[in-house]
Amino acid sequence: MSCTRTPVVAGWFAGEGDGFRLLGTRCAACASVFFPREDHHCRNPACGGGELAEFPLSRRGRVWSYTDSRYRPPSPYVSDPELSWEPCTLIAVELEAERIVVLGQAAPGVTVEDLTVGMEAEVVPGMLHEDAETTWTTWHWRPTGVEA
């Protein structure tokens, strides 16, 4: 099956392999960083508003917390109702440089048993689901093996 690879949300991430990054924006006036990206207005109430330029986030951070979905989430999450639901692990990662916590699904095969708060994790390209024409891509968090 040869599919078009399409990001689940346009403009939130880009790149391949080690070059993969989450894409936020940064205000030219106050240096506030936003993810998901703000493209029109800086949300710092003390800022008069500056140009918002695309800003790739750090690849690595520390696990702020984690959990999993033991039951199938409702639509608009897409899953094959013919297949039994496999628990999906979710990780919230704190990026030190940006002082932001970003939630994401864990890379395939990572379970809550593999995780502790404070361990290092890195962002990697991932697949959300595929249909006849399209492979929907996303970001995943994957522990690097470096403990807290």
Partner: protein, 395 residues
Amino acid sequence: MGEVAVLGAGMHPWGKWGRNFVEYGVAAARAALTDAGLDWRDIGSVVGADTVRGGYPGYVAGATFAKALGWQGARVTNVYAACASGAQAVDAARAQILSGLADVVLVVGADAAPKGFFRPAGGDRPDDPDWLRFRVLGATNPVYFGLYARRRMAVHGDTAEDFAQVKVKNAAMGALNPNARYRERVTAEEVAASAVVADPLRLLDICATSDGGAALVLSSLEFARRHGHADPVRIRAVSTVTPRYPNTVLDLPDIATDSAVAVDPPAETFRVSIARAAYEEAGVGPEDLSLAEVYDLSTALELQWYEDLGLCGEGEGAKLLRDGATALGGRIPVNASGGLASFGEAVPAQAIAQVCELAWQLRGEAGDRQVAGARVGISANQGLFGHGSAVIAVR
């Protein structure tokens, strides 16, 4: 800030009745009017807490209830603020009374809940964070509750057993409340044997979604006196503040926090600021409280509220619970009603139901779950999109 009187409180019991939300709201409204000793035609203003689940009538709940009770010309207001809708309806009613726009106001909220998880409205809406968190992550509400619970375990040393004891406590009190949906006591073993929904939380750690309705009749103190209520329960504060930038706690339905790289985070979290604003407005502190009704969407979140309300220091919530301070007969009973653990959440009705419980407790009419000598009570809640509330009532 002036006070308003609580003349009447009424509820339709919580459950999974499978009927229209209007029916629950009207039953609650009639009960509150009876409790107040007033006729519906005496009401000058009706404020409805809206539901997103009833179609158009849900978006204009105040008018929907007014029509169902029989049009009588009252001023109407509709309020939506996610889980804080009920408290904002109380706030709108209070503002009308204190400004002299109305003498006596009926506040009503009701919901008919879906089966299973709350889910976003239909259609493709990539600009809606609530749609995105489901589409991109499959992040249901329990996912966020699981993240908070795990974080507490790592930072404060809370255990799954601590969380289970919250359920045990609330179920014991809910068993005494005829309006609660779940009226069976629960053991820690039963919590531990229930299925994991979002690690580390199990089915019995997480509140269900319910049908239910709650209503209040509020008035000026002058109106209360004229109608023979010499010593009514009074609402002294309603806090509906928003977060301050940067909000560094991951809140529903967000995929990320604000970044604190350019601006340091505020000294207090959003939930702490909700409570502080209420304390300041009422001129009381946590040491003055007789009881608290908090939004225990999960067992772990109840422990978080202990700290955010200042009932104990940061990280000491589980100890406060273990010491029995928050059980009936303890220093500061929390969720004497049974809480969301015993009710399940009926979104627009829930914050109103919390105030109903405060009113009955402060009147000494809470039956077997009565907190002895209750004089000051607080309710607290938080919902999606930067909404939260705290109400302080006194007698």
